[in-house]
Amino acid sequence: MAGYVLRRIGLAGLMLFGLVCLTFVIANVAPSDPAALAAGPDAGRSQIERVRQEYGLDKPLPEQFLRYVTDLAQGNFGQSIATGRPVGTDLARYFPATLELVIVAMTLGVLLGVPLGVLSALRKDGPVDHATRIFAVSGIALPPFWFGLLLQLGFATWLGLLPTSGRLSVFTEPPDPITGLLLVDSLLHGNWALFREAASYIVLPAIVLSLPCLASILRVNRSEMVEALRMDYVVAARAHGVTPWRIVMVHALKNAMLPTLAIIGLRWGWMMSSTVLVETVFDWPGIGLYAVSSAIAGDFKPVMGVTLIVGLNFMIANLIVDLLYGVLDPRLRRA
């Protein structure tokens, strides 16, 4: 087991190195003049030259790369031109909002996707199966930004049930951050009114964000369940007189959950990246909105910071899934 864990951590380390290389290439090789890009759209020639010297952009590429890596290792992502703060500070400030949104959306996706997948596998080729199939394909095809606008129009404007956008009303004082997640903090402070308010703001963006994830969890879980229910051990269990409920929930689902877990790991990273669209629609103050507003303003460093953070999340989620695989499937530890 220790060997398996070490190997997986080594692989994750390699991925991290790849991520750093990739962002370095994008920042320093792709643009025609990296210094002009780093200095921002309104910089004059002397300013660009100063940035070139300050960041060492006149040095050879290997030396620049070394400097880039040491900076990142110290948590230095550079300076944001628009906010005037270090990008690291901004990321620390915006990330909890995104994390909260992704956690809620992922919970929704798993809690609805897995049971619906099981249900459509049990009713294979029946009306429920066809309905969930159409639902799943729609979930992947719906443009999230448009779906978000429609939900805002329906639930916020016409029905008036939920707030349109933002994380809290502008008149509400946010609580002292403990974890940075409003839903958790308001509970820790024992403030129920605040919890309800935060929950009402998160519902719509979480639904929009969870839909593609829900759809793919549903599809994968369905096809794995169909496969698992055909296996010999299911027949054996049935012959032994195990109750149908137990066969589905324990024997089959346990085996179908492994590939589902892999999809959940992948989707965690993808969700972080689709927050770019969802946060833009709902003015959710997270890293996605930060990346978009920076990219539009030509403020380059924050975009690279967000890319690194999303990539890091993607990597960690995959690592956790790999390790869980090792725990759940003993055969893999020796492979």
Binding site: M15, F145, A295
Partner: protein, 296 residues
């Protein structure tokens, strides 16, 4: 269904084709996909000749007519400068389809040769190609595309370049795994024993046999590429208004919500139907061409 489909693979070519068409036409969702894709393709081909208001394509200004609700003259209403939204959405089909197909073809053109090469060459070359591919897979697509567009500068051409760079690794992975499994097949060995040149083996034996999963993936990817381009257009990094690109239209329409809600509805519905069409088509094609890989 899958048992019948697997028979289809074993039968001789003409009967195989007839069986495949029959299976495809029996599936409601596949046919829906085919119909949707055909409609989008027809709109894209005939666009300039069938739009009700050809003058609005370039973005004429007719302020007296602005923000009209849907009516018999303007099925989807008019936009903030008085252009007919139906006209602009039909022209948008042209842009989206072209861009979606362009990105997918470019990504496949880069990824498939690299993947086949990696799968057949093996050894160090394979290692280099696959590690390089993994590099691009270390960040989820949309964020990577935004970072690339931020580096290259906004605009529809740069958005296409960025999305192509994001998309090709998937084709390397697919082609490599196909090539790896085909390499072991007896008919490749037979061809080699018969003295076929390497290029001939690649072109005549490996490529045709990896074609089915490739077609399925390309069909799905055209849809996803249309969605990605619209997404970049929506956040302001893709096509710039007044180009009638669907995502960019929604981005402007957002400023006119909720009073003029119909402005945002039509372009979004077209994105949805186009992506849905290509996904259903890909799904249906997979059921008949590549029945064993029906996952996710």
């Amino acid at each position: 269904m899958s048992a019948v489909a697997e028979q289809a693979v074993a039968a001789p070519p003409r009967r195989r084709l007839r069986l495949a068409i029959w299976l495809f036409s029996r599936s409601f969702s596949s046919m829906l996909g085919l119909v949707l894709v055909s409609v989008i393709v027809l709109l894209a081909l005939l666009g300039p000749w069938i739009v009700p208001y050809p003058d609005d394509v370039q973005g004429g200004i007719n302020l007296a007519n602005k923000l009209q609700p849907p009516s018999w003259q303007h099925w989807f209403g008019t936009d903030e400068v008085g252009n007919d939204i139906l006209t602009r959405v039909i022209i948008g089909a042209r842009i989206s389809l072209l861009v979606g197909i362009g990105i997918t073809l470019a990504a496949a053109a880069i990824g498939v040769p690299l993947g086949i090469l990696a799968g057949l060459a093996g050894g160090r070359l394979r290692e280099v190609i696959m590690r390089f591919t993994d590099l691009f897979l270390s960040v989820p697509g949309l964020v990577l595309a935004i970072a690339l567009v931020a580096a290259l500068g906004p605009g529809i051409v740069n958005a296409m370049i960025a999305l192509t760079l994001v998309w090709w690794p998937g084709y390397v992975r697919l082609a490599e795994s196909k090539a790896l499994s085909i390499r072991e097949e007896p008919y490749i060995e037979a061809a080699r024993v018969a003295g076929a040149a390497r290029a001939r083996i690649l072109w005549r034996h490996v490529l045709p046999n990896s074609l089915s999963p490739l077609i399925v993936k390309m069909s799905m990817d055209i849809g996803q590429a249309i969605l990605a381009v619209a997404s970049l257009g929506f956040i302001g990094l893709g096509a710039k208004p007044p180009t009638p690109e669907w995502g960019a239209m929604i981005s402007i329409a957002r400023g006119y919500l909720p009073e003029w809600w119909w402005y945002a509805v039509a372009p979004g519905a077209f994105i949805y139907l186009a992506v849905l069409g290509f996904n259903l088509l890909g799904d249906g094609l997979r059921d008949i061409l590549d029945p064993r890989s029906n996952r996710g």
